[in-house]
Amino acid sequence: MHIVEILQRWTESNAFFTWLRESPSVWAYPFVFFVHTLGLLFAAGASVIIDARLLGAARRLPVAPFARFYKAIWVGIVFTVLSGAVMLVSDLQTKLMNPLFPVKMLFVVVAIVLTALLRRRITSVDDAESTVSPRMRALAALSLLCWLGAIASGKFAAYF
């Protein structure tokens, strides 16, 4: 817990984090939270729809062109992770003590890794063949589960 203590001490004395925690301004904590929500909704939303396509929804859509959406998905992920890190550091002890926090982090990390894996494989899907490989469908199903799991554990964490 040494690093946690050092970080904690730093954020307690740091002007930015003090402002973020204590300011009633809508540009403080609420705005960072808004960025977090917006980034997550887009990244998770777009991923879930791509997962659904890989799992067999909207079969008339070719799969390979979906690769072009990933730049926007990564932008969403970066905004979500950065704003999440800022909120985490500003209230480190409380969040680390939450029993759902590691659960949420596990979902998030796996979801992000799967985003990279799916992005790499999606371009090589042959749209002349009507089915997506079972392996890729398994990755898509796991991705869907992880994004929804991240959202659910994030919501429930506030009530623990």
Binding site: L38, G45, I49, A57, P65, I151, A152
Partner: protein, 149 residues
């Protein structure tokens, strides 16, 4: 006595609905802007009924949350963020009606793989994205102004 899990459960459902909705709206709007031109628009827009279903899930769970804690949104005084969110949702509805009633949707359906959409379709998509970002913003502010963040 209300169960402790009722509110987070409704919020989770609310988020699931919005996630699918934002996914469909976001991808359709991006395609209209010209991202992922390899996708023909018609089969992409055929996902729209699912956007309606996910909107209904979000609306039903949102209504449940409103009934559980009416003061958060309705006050008195009425929460400005709640009023702004509802107003933006009405504008989104009008934008959608415009999209369908002017047959713009049908025109966009005809846009095949590799083709670009019209300027009017891009305007409607821009309005859609701005309004949805506003809905997310005021939803965040809603809990904050209600002191329930």
């Amino acid at each position: 006595m209300k169960s402790w899990w009722l509110v987070p459960f409704c919020k989770t459902l609310h988020y699931f609905g919005i996630t699918v909705l934002v996914g469909i709206v976001g991808l359709v709007d991006l395609r209209i802007f010209g991202v992922a031109k390899g996708l023909p628009v018609r089969p992409l827009q055929r996902l729209m009924p699912w956007a309606v279903v996910s909107f209904l899930v979000a609306a039903a769970s949102g209504y449940a949350l409103l009934r559980i804690n009416p003061a958060n949104s309705l006050g008195p005084p009425v929460n400005i963020a709640f009023a702004a969110k509802m107003a933006l949702l009405v504008l989104i509805g009008l934008n959608d009606i415009l999209y369908f009633a002017t047959r713009l949707k049908r025109q966009v359906d005809g846009v095949g793989a590799g083709q670009s959409t019209s300027a009017s379709a891009k305007i409607v998509a821009t309005v859609s994205i701005i309004l949805w970002i506003g809905v997310v913003y005021w939803s965040r502010m809603l809990t904050f102004l209600a002191g329930a963040i």
